[in-house]
Amino acid sequence: MSLISLALYIFEALAGAAALGILLVRNVFHAALLLIVCLISLAGVFVIYNAEFIAVTQILVYAGGVLVLIVFGIMLSSRIAGKPLVVTNQYVLPASLAGILSAGILIKLFSEQPFAQQPGALPGNPMNQTGIALMRDYVLPFEIAGILLLIALIGAAVTASSFYSKKQ
């Protein structure tokens, strides 16, 4: 077992454990921390699969952006400080059934599926290629993503601003 595949196993185990942990913990803040663990482990997995750019984005955007947002959300929406935000579970039986079934079916089908053998290998310098292709083949989604971000930012501001308004 090479060092790289050992690292892959460790990252994957960490990510899986963190995901299951989110399911089990009852404190939302703990869940958010576990999500960080899961996301960072996944970033490690991405690096091993030669997707360095995705990994960097994953850490910067998710850990830096989404999680800060979530933690903000937890802090702003929990009752008076000091009490942790604890959630109870509902529909435990049907949900576990759905979860186990979907995982089981997916794993079984994945193991039977011969995935298309894609010819060729990744380009030597993926980061460079990524930059070029982003401005060439993917220029349309790239532009749309820009508009999407603009709309989401204004939208979040509009939606949350009424939080501070005195009316209603």
Binding site: E12, A32, V45, T57, I70, S102, A121, A152, T159
Partner: protein
């Protein structure tokens, strides 16, 4: 290499269960992030030998979208919290048949 797909299945199932089980909007959001990451893992994994890097680009855009969703979603959660003093969807009962 199958273990990566097993992980993605587990992430997806855990996300789905979180969405159904947890009675808090923020927890549901976390579950959705898990599902998005399961898809991302798939996309990167399936792109191992693809010189076109389409899976990588898809994953990149998924991350961007996830950020937008999280920002808008949390803003909505905050607003709901202001009116109801709770972020538990089941306790919102203004709209009923």
């Amino acid at each position: 290499m199958e273990h990566t797909l097993i992980l993605s299945s587990i992430l997806f199932a855990a996300g789905l269960m979180t969405v159904i089980v947890k009675r808090n909007a923020i927890m549901v959001l976390i579950g959705i992030e898990l599902m998005l990451n399961a898809a991302n893992l798939n996309l990167v994994f399936f792109n191992r030998n693809n010189p076109a890097l389409s899976g990588h680009f898809f994953a990149l855009f998924v991350i961007v979208v996830a950020v937008c969703e999280a920002a808008v979603g949390l803003a909505i959660v905050l607003r709901v919290y202001k009116y109801y003093q709770t972020s538990i969807p089941d306790q919102l009962t203004e709209l009923k048949d």
